[in-house]
């Protein structure tokens, strides 16, 4: 019913979609980007693209999966633009202005592990970061991740392996955090 309304470009149906998935999409976006501003831009772009290409949605996957795939595409596009921009900055030795409020979780009581994890995530490549988000934030199984990213299970496993190895390396000994986190 909702799909039909959406495909008929019913504004109210789209509002309902925003209400239902906006929060979830935003929460994933903050892990896939480096700042709140970027996350907001990405969410906005995701819903904009979804609104303009809803006629392409054939209902083969769930609406959320479809939206999530758009989110990942938008994130990859942004990352590519940012990479070109940063190369330009480094070429002409222009200092990047960094805003301390960019830190995602300034307003959360950070424990050491969370802080380490945040730093480790920032250092990950996007393809590894998205696997971590899908596996540990969205709690998806290997098969579901493979479907969402349109890659093989083998690729998911190897990316997950590399991502976890990097995180382990960044945070050091897990035992030291285990007691504080449990």
């Amino acid at each position: 019913m909702m799909n039909n309304d959406l495909q008929n470009c019913d504004r109210q149906a789209f509002d309902a979609l925003l209400k239902e998935f906006g929060g979830k999409i935003y929460k994933s976006a903050i892990f896939l980007t480096d700042s709140k501003e970027e996350a907001e831009d990405i969410v906005q772009e995701t819903f904009m693209r979804a609104y303009h290409s809803i006629y392409k949605f054939k209902g083969r996957s769930s609406l959320y999966t479809w939206l999530y795939r758009i989110l990942l595409n938008v994130t990859h596009d942004l990352r590519r633009k940012k990479y070109i921009h940063e190369r330009f900055l480094s070429k002409y030795r222009i200092e990047k202005y960094s805003d301390p409020s960019e830190d995602l979780i300034n307003d959360v009581d950070k424990d050491i592990f969370t802080q380490c994890l945040q730093d480790a995530l920032k250092r990950q490549k996007l393809k590894h970061r998205e696997i971590i988000v899908l596996r540990f934030f969205e709690d998806l199984k290997l098969e579901e991740i493979a479907e969402r990213l349109n890659i093989s299970i083998g690729t998911v496993k190897s990316r997950l392996h590399i991502a976890l190895k990097k995180i382990k390396k960044s945070i050091g000994n897990i035992e030291q955090f285990a007691n504080t986190n449990d």
Binding site: R11, I54, F136, N181
Partner: protein, 171 residues
């Protein structure tokens, strides 16, 4: 070798994708092998901590209502993109334009060839069982000028017809 296999399929094991006798084999190995057991526990602990931290971070993050509102305000009116402009694009047009031209040329050539090779009825050799020559009507500006001789024939297999033979100047 066995430890390597266990570690390789650990993620599937955690997903519950391994069942039956294979699962009991996994369970047995994890019970007996201290290294693999440690590996599993470490992975489980790391997973739990990652999951907990990510959820903790996200619990305080909510999109502002303005953000969601503006997502639709910017998007404006939906414009559906019909398929035909895409088909008419130069790179796609060659896909159908060349076969279409080839098809038309083929049809034209075939038709031409057909008429060239086709034998008119009156050139066929048939046994004529009935023949009658009549002058049917006059042609020309003056009715007195020309006579058209028409031959009525009936073939041995019963087909009837006529053919126009010639124009003869009226004497």
């Amino acid at each position: 070798m066995k430890c390597k296999r266990i570690r390789n399929y650990l993620e599937e094991y955690l997903d519950g994708a391994i069942t039956g006798s294979e699962k009991s084999e996994f369970d047995r190995h994890l019970k007996d092998c201290a290294d693999c057991k440690k590996f599993l526990l470490e992975r489980q602990r790391l997973g739990k901590m990652l999951s907990g931290s990510l959820k903790k971070i996200s619990s305080n993050q909510e999109p502002s209502p303005e953000l969601l509102k503006s997502a639709l305000t910017i998007s404006g009116k939906v414009t559906f993109k019909p398929l035909w402009p895409l088909i008419l694009r130069p790179k796609f047009a060659t896909l159908w334009l060349l076969p279409l031209i080839a098809l038309i040329l083929g049809i034209v050539l075939l038709q031409k060839n057909h008429y060239k090779n086709s034998v008119p009825y009156f050139q066929e050799q048939v046994k004529v069982s009935y023949l009658k020559i009549t002058t049917t009507h006059f042609a020309g500006t003056s009715s007195d000028d020309w006579i058209i001789k028409r031959v009525h024939v009936q073939t041995s297999n019963g087909e009837k017809g006529f053919l126009t033979l010639e124009l003869t100047k009226k004497m």
